[in-house]
């Protein structure tokens, strides 16, 4: 595997540690530089993570590079809620994933890997786990693909597979930040050490002087919730919310933390109202709404007798 330049390393690190804003603000290298395409892809992905509608303006429309095309497609997929448009974007990604197997494609091996990662991400978003795994699982030696695969396995409660994939990656992958991130994600789902590895990982990244990411603060806040360290978690989440006002993930975690054994019930309800209005599509909101309906349904199954009232005296 080729070694990334220091600049690209930094870009990659910013992306995986969720330092999206500074990544977006970062200037692009010279278009002739080898870093140009990968940097642009990461910038596009950061853009998708924050404001997907803007991705189109970032990528030159005439680009034939497969990675850029894939990024643009993912951007379209994420930014629209129209089924047809979504399906079109998925179709394009499917095509690209096949196309890169051919000879005369514009793009390096790295770009081709990116195509798979982006396509896999889109399929996972679409809920098509099988297709996502099929796309990515070509006994890959691309750690980014492993990261996506592991997250998919975790989402379907296949910790065994996730661990296996991670152990396999450890054989060939270098000592890499991403590898640690993967390990820490597994730790959050299936801890063996009271979440201390994940906690140390996020704490460590927060201590890095050349990077600042509210996303990592949120991640540590979530880890602390899992560690039953609620006041500490709240402090992390508040700090993160200050840095990225209205971030859905942070807000959702704040709702959770506020509701745990709290004497101040209003706080949780206020945050909840905020989350439901600002991010009606967040999985927590959707899930709780579904549960609410289920509740009504089950509730109706019980016959409620009349209230015990004394006969008029």
């Amino acid at each position: 595997m080729s070694v990334d330049s220091s600049e690209l390393y930094n870009v990659k690190r910013q992306f995986f540690l969720g330092s999206f804003k500074s990544l977006i603000d970062m200037p692009l290298p010279d278009p002739s530089s080898a870093d140009y395409i990968p940097t642009l892809v990461y910038k596009a992905r950061a853009q998708i993570a924050t404001d997907p509608a803007e991705v189109a303006s970032l990528i030159p429309a005439d680009s034939e590079n497969v990675a850029l095309k894939a990024a643009a497609a993912l951007g379209r997929y994420v930014s629209t809620s129209e089924d047809a448009e979504q399906e079109a974007a998925l179709e394009e990604l499917r095509d690209l994933a096949v196309e890169i197997e051919g000879e005369d494609v514009e793009g390096s091996q790295r770009d081709k890997n990116s195509v798979l990662v982006l396509a896999g991400t889109a399929f996972a978003r679409a809920g098509d786990v099988e297709e996502a795994l099929e796309t990515l699982l070509v006994e890959t030696e691309d750690l980014e693909a492993v990261a996506v695969i592991v997250q998919i396995y975790l989402s379907i409660n296949r910790v065994d597979r996730a661990r296996k994939e991670f152990e396999r990656a450890k054989q060939w992958a270098e000592d890499d930040l991403l590898l640690q991130l993967i390990e820490s994600s597994i730790g959050l789902v299936a801890t063996r050490d009271g979440y201390s590895n994940s906690n140390s990982f996020y704490t460590e990244q927060l201590g890095n002087p050349s990077l600042s990411s509210p996303h990592i603060l949120t991640a540590r806040g979530v880890t602390r919730i899992l560690r039953n360290e609620v006041p500490e978690a709240k402090s992390d989440l508040e700090e993160s919310l200050e840095q990225q006002k209205g971030d859905a993930e942070t807000l959702a975690a704040s709702v959770v933390a506020a509701g745990i054994d709290s004497k101040n019930k209003d706080e949780a309800e206020q945050l909840w109202t905020r989350l439901t209005t600002e991010h009606p599509l967040h999985p927590l909101v959707v899930d709780v709404a579904q549960k609410g309906d289920l509740f009504d349904e089950f509730c109706a199954k019980f016959t409620v007798p009349p209230l015990a009232v004394p006969a008029a005296a």
């Binding site: 296949r158 460590e204 201590g207 004497k263």
Partner: protein, 1207 residues
């Protein structure tokens, strides 16, 4: 190996004798030129000099406990000196020796001094009687040294006669010392006998000394050897020799702490030997100077050696203990054991031996702790620097683990953890930094970007590199310098606990920087800086050789306290500094942080805190005032000052006229009044200006002020004053200001300015007066013919537009500041009012009772009563079984994309409690459980609770951007790794519901019954969904349910009574019954009092005096406060006078009964009843199968299994 660390050096004449003061940093040096120097070796200053000996001085010694110094010289004299700073002088001189005196020594407990001389004798003197009490004879040549045994009654002496002798002096202690004077020398010998004569040296012996604890002697001789001798009760023999000096050995000493010998000699070397192996360990050589004497500090690792041209003070090893702080635990090394010290509990445990790491004589240099792996990384300077990585055992074991078992060693000068699975090692020679993994294999090698002498942790994956003139923040991953600051070589680095700031310490400077070095400030110290630690508020506390000091983020620093001996700060918590002393023992120092807290508050404009400090502390003194003034806060300084003059100055500076004029009154000096007037004028406060002018009798200015303010009456008063003063100029001015023409003319006439007087009169149309003036001047009209006619004056006194005189409108607004307001609201002397009064239950309730007694007026404000129930007491936390890590026996054979079992499925499987099913989102099973266990049938009210609990049982995170977030499940016990035991987290705990219940109590006390009913209902509903994990918790749960039920029932009854009193005022009977039933609810005493008082009042009103008296009696049993007691007694008395009841009610308090929670009627013992399956409230049989009216959720009389006990 350079472990001899020179701490102090001085140049002088040849040094022949040396002695350390046992407690103070003082060193006495006897010089060949006849003077004795007293050095403070820590500060490097010559404290004093004693010059009374004639000829060279060879011997000096300090008394162990008294401020005494003994000396002896070539003038045959022994002198004893008082060394207290104020009266340093020679106290007395002991005469008797007949030749040079070589050594002197005070006895450790008797008032004895032992001395040796070239006259071949050893003498012992009584320093109280100042007589010689023994002469030890036997040596046949100069006696070079003689020393007392540190415990026993023995003396060891060394002589040029090539022998070392041990003397028994126990006789001295028993017998009364002979005071027979010079005539009775022979008798002395009966008190002291030679015990052993040690022969073996081939030349004269220069020095011999006892081991502090073992029966050993060492001697140093001109035969270039050091001999070790052993003694038993009966004999002494030579054990071995240390050979290596190639000239005469002057002195040899035992190291006071370690098994080492230190010696010096005329071969210009100081040598260190291993006592056990008798091998040389190290040699310290001087170019030109022969060493003549060596002294060891009795307690510290400190030595002094005297040579031809001065002396040196040195240490043999670093004293700075290697340590590292993680959260509330200090990991440190003492005597080559890694130990931990808990700052909170003081628990001090040994974990790991590192005795086999590096040279046994060298203590480890640094320790880096890795909390994730519970591993330590230790460096040592021996063998050119090496490191060892070992993990600490999980628990303290009987036998302490030795690091050599699994420690991974390597060479390197500096080694630290940079991440939980990586550490960095500096190879100074090649200037390479190796990044290694936990297996100690190199992962990455980096060429240091600057000449690096030491590396420190610089934040994750970053290093701080210390170079000769800079310090660099370096990112290992990117291999790039992030920032660089100029600094002398940085020796230690301390991070603040939140990792936001770092202190970079060099010998004399501290650089405080933020985490990416973008901001920094520098502090310079003249005294050597030893250590530092961060306070929780972001203040850096550091120690120098003799002070503990603080440093604020912007660089202000000051002294907190002084130190006798250097300490190494490890942690600052509130008023306590934790530190390690020089022997690496944890200590604490309590200090007063007020000063720096105040300054910090000032910096942050935190006025509340400042005010609090001013009010509660004794912060006073010139320094803080000067500081405040210098920083531009005179108005705050004002509050510290008592001295009137300073107060005046400060008040003027900050424009506080009130204080200024008050203080001016006290001072009452002209210049003060003038300055006050000036300042007041600037602010437009003319009243104060007026007062100041009056005080200084500044009439002119006063008049002008009155003119300016339009104060006509005052002006006319000024005229009168001017008249009485008979000051024509002043009279004229005032007349002019007042527009009083007649007066003006009168003044001019009085001073014989007739022409002016005439013209004034003329131009103002006062012709008669003009004529009069002419006449009095002896002139006629004709004489003034040539005076032109001016016509009538049109000038008038300006009218007063604004009556400023009545207004005091300060033109400069001084703006009342926070402090002025605070001062107005209460004097500074008064203590600060507690922000929140946690009144005790009884007091709170009884004042609430008075509210009730006002015949149920609506009371709005609640009593802050909430103690009483000891609701904060811990409810015995459930201790789960030891977690065992089990591998997940999962669906290994399933195809990849098939989903596995979710954690929530495990939750449902693992628990029979409804709440755990709610957490898992399995609402249906949760409802079934509640129905089966507690007979719940109506779930509508539980919906918000279900959803809130479910909502806080899972959290989401997106590790890879744009992927769907992962749902993470919050476990009750994060350490539980076995899926067959995992349970969801606790969203509502018993403790929080207990708190809510107490809120309900508060509402009851505050007479807000409807709200109280809502609160109790809500608690009872929430109690359905509390996770329980032990019998004890289940018991507490039942108690809470019962208490909630009783209150809910009581409150409901009382509400019903009030409804009847309002809607059916004639139904007195029912009203009385309900009041009576209310008293039967099992409430806490304060609330039971409420019920009883209410009943007393209602029954009295209904003229049921007998019943009222009975309630009053019950009330008395609850021991209410005096006022209520008096009222109750009254009721009882009234009941006795008139033991009748006007209304007959159904209430038999002598037969036990339960109250039907639906009809509020008694169900007497023996009658049949049905019960609520959850709260166990009683109902009349007719209500069976109905919905309970208390919380409207359960079916009365339903069969239910009760809560299972899964634990």
């Amino acid at each position: 190996m350079s472990v001899m660390l020179t701490k102090f050096e001085s140049k002088s004449n040849r040094v022949k004798g040396l002695a350390f003061h046992p407690t103070q940093p003082l060193l006495a040096a006897a010089l060949h030129n006849g003077s004795i120097q007293l050095w403070n070796y820590r500060m490097g200053v010559l404290v004093d000099r004693f010059e009374e000996h004639e000829g060279p001085v060879r011997a000096v010694n300090f008394h162990l406990s008294r401020a005494l110094l003994a000396s002896g010289g070539d003038d045959y004299k022994i002198k004893v000196w008082d060394i207290r700073p104020q009266n340093r002088r020679c106290l007395f001189t002991l005469h008797g020796h007949l030749d040079y005196v070589r050594t002197v020594q005070f006895h450790h407990e008797m008032p004895w001094i032992i001395s040796t001389s070239d006259d071949q004798t050893i003498r012992i003197w009584n320093s109280t009687s100042r007589n010689c009490i023994a002469i030890l004879t036997g040596h046949s040549h100069y006696v070079m040294s003689a020393l007392f045994h540190p415990k026993d009654d023995l003396v060891v002496s060394a002589s040029m006669d090539q022998t070392v002798r041990v003397w028994d002096i126990s006789g001295l202690r028993k017998g009364s010392p002979n005071n027979g004077g010079p005539g009775g020398f022979e008798t002395f010998d009966t008190f002291s006998t030679v015990k052993y004569v040690l022969e073996g040296h081939d030349r004269g012996v220069n020095y011999a000394t006892f081991h502090p604890t073992l029966p050993l002697i060492i001697s140093a001789a001109d035969d270039r050897t050091i001999k070790i001798w052993r003694m038993s009760e009966t004999k002494a023999w030579e054990v071995d020799s240390c050979r290596g000096h190639f000239n005469n050995v002057s002195t040899a000493l035992f190291h006071p702490k370690h098994e080492l010998i230190v010696s010096c000699g005329e071969d210009k070397t100081v040598r260190v030997w291993d006592l056990a192996k008798r091998t040389a360990i190290q040699t310290f050589r001087r170019e030109n100077d022969r060493f003549w004497v060596l002294a060891a500090h009795p307690n510290l690792n400190l030595f002094a050696a005297g040579h031809d041209s001065g002396l040196i003070v040195f240490k043999l090893e670093r004293e700075r203990p290697a340590f590292s702080v993680h959260q509330d635990t200090l990991y440190y090394i003492r005597d080559k054991y890694v130990r931990s010290y808990d700052f909170n509990t003081g628990a001090d445990l040994g974990w790991l031996s590192v005795r086999k790491f590096g040279s046994p004589y060298v203590p480890p240099k640094t320790l880096s702790f890795n909390p994730a792996e519970r591993a330590v990384l230790i460096t040592i300077s021996s063998d050119n620097g090496s490191y060892e990585l070992t993990s600490l055992p999980q628990q303290v074991q009987g036998e302490v683990k030795d690091s050599s078992v699994d420690g991974k060693k390597g060479s390197g000068q500096s080694a630290i953890f940079v991440a939980r699975n990586r550490f960095a090692v500096l190879q100074k020679q090649s200037q390479l930094i190796e990044v290694r993994d936990l297996a100690s294999s190199v992962v990455k090698t980096i060429k240091a970007p600057v000449q690096t002498n030491e590396i420190f942790y610089g934040g994750t994956a970053s290093l701080i590199l210390s170079s000769t003139s800079t310090v660099v923040l370096y990112d290992i991953q990117q291999q790039k310098t992030l920032a660089e600051i100029n600094s002398p070589p940085v020796k230690y680095v301390v991070w603040s606990s939140d990792g936001a700031y770092v202190a970079l310490m060099s010998k004399h400077t501290i650089t405080i920087a933020n985490k990416n070095f973008s901001q920094h400030s520098l502090i310079h110290e003249t005294i050597r800086i030893k250590s530092g630690a961060w306070d929780d508020s972001g203040v850096f506390i550091y120690s120098t050789l003799n002070h503990v000091k603080y440093c604020l983020p912007q660089g202000d620093h000051g002294v907190i306290c002084t130190l006798d001996n250097p300490v190494y700060l490890t942690r600052v918590k509130g008023k306590t500094v934790h530190c390690l002393d020089r022997s690496a023992r944890p200590r604490t120092i309590t200090f007063d942080p007020t000063e720096y807290r105040f300054k910090l508050a000032l910096l942050k404009n935190n006025y509340e805190e400042m005010l609090y400090i001013i009010r509660t502390s004794t912060l006073l003194g010139q320094s803080i005032i000067a500081y405040l003034q210098q920083k531009g806060f005179p108005e705050i300084a004002l509050h510290f000052v008592q001295d009137t003059n300073t107060r005046f100055e400060l008040a003027l500076e900050c424009g506080n006229l009130e204080v200024a004029s008050e203080t001016a009154k006290t001072i009452d000096r002209a210049d003060c009044w003038e300055r006050l007037a000036q300042q007041a004028l600037k602010q437009g406060n003319h009243k104060i200006v007026e007062k100041a002018y009056q005080q200084t009798k500044n009439f002119d200015k006063l008049s002008f002020l009155y003119l300016a303010t339009g104060s006509t009456d005052k002006l006319s008063k000024m005229q009168k004053i001017a008249d009485t003063r008979n000051d024509p100029m002043s009279r004229f001015h005032n007349a002019l200001y007042a527009g009083d023409i007649l007066s003006r003319i009168a003044v001019m006439r009085d001073v014989a300015l007739y022409p002016l007087a005439y013209l004034t009169a003329k131009t103002n149309g006062l012709d008669e007066l003009a004529q009069e003036i002419l006449e009095s001047a002896g002139l006629t009209e004709a004489d003034v013919d040539d005076v032109p006619s001016f016509g009538l004056s049109t000038l008038k006194t300006p009218p007063i537009v604004t009556t400023t005189t009545d207004l005091n409108w300060p033109a400069v607004s001084t703006g009342q500041n926070f402090f002025d307001r605070a001062l107005e609201n209460g004097s500074l002397e008064g203590g600060v009012e507690p922000a929140y009064v946690n009144g005790d239950a009884a007091a709170g309730a009884s004042s609430a009772l008075d509210a009730w007694a006002k015949d149920e007026e609506v009371q709005d404000d609640l009593d802050p009563e909430e103690g009483g129930w000891e609701l904060d007491a811990d409810g015995g936390e459930y201790q789960g079984a030891e977690p065992e890590v089990e591998d997940v026996p999962q669906e290994e054979d399933l195809p990849g994309s098939t989903p596995g079992a979710s954690e929530t499925e495990h939750w449902v499987r693992n628990s029979p409690l409804a709440v755990d099913h709610v957490c898992a989102g399995s609402f249906e099973t949760a409802m079934q459980l509640l129905n089966r266990q507690l007979g719940v049938v109506n779930f509508v009210e539980l919906k918000p609770l279900f959803l809130a609990i479910y909502r806080s049982s899972h959290t989401y995170l997106t590790p890879v951007a744009s992927m769907p977030p992962l749902q993470l499940h919050i476990r009750r016990n994060p350490a539980e790794a076995s899926l067959t035991r995992v349970l969801p987290g606790v969203v509502r705990s018993l403790a929080s519901l207990r708190y809510e219940l107490s809120e309900g109590f508060r509402l009851v006390s505050g007479n807000q019954l409807a709200e109280a009913r809502t609160a109790f209902r809500s608690v009872l509903r929430a109690l359905l969904l509390v996770p329980l994990s032990s019998d004890d918790e289940a018991k507490q749960w039942r108690e809470l349910v019962t208490a909630g039920r009783e209150y809910l029932l009581g409150v409901s009854i009382e509400l019903e009574r009030r409804r009847i009193a309002e809607e059916e005022p004639d139904n007195v009977r029912r009203s009385l019954e309900l009041a009576a039933y209310f008293t039967q609810c099992k409430l806490q005493p304060p609330h039971a009092q409420i019920a009883l008082r209410s009943a007393v009042s209602v029954f009295t009103k209904a003229n049921n005096q007998a019943d009222a008296a009975r309630f009053a009696k019950r009330l008395l049993e609850l021991k209410p406060d005096a006022k209520i007691v008096a009222q109750a007694r009254q009721r009882i008395a009234a009941g006795e006078r008139n033991p009748r009841n006007a209304v007959d009610i159904t209430y038999d308090e002598f037969t036990p009964f339960e109250i039907c929670a639906a009809s509020y009627t008694p169900i007497y013992k023996g009658s049949s009843a049905v019960y609520c399956p959850y709260m166990n409230a009683a109902y009349l049989p007719e209500f069976k199968g109905k919905l309970d009216p208390l919380i409207e959720m359960t079916e009365i009389g339903a069969v239910a299994s009760g809560l299972p006990a899964p634990w």
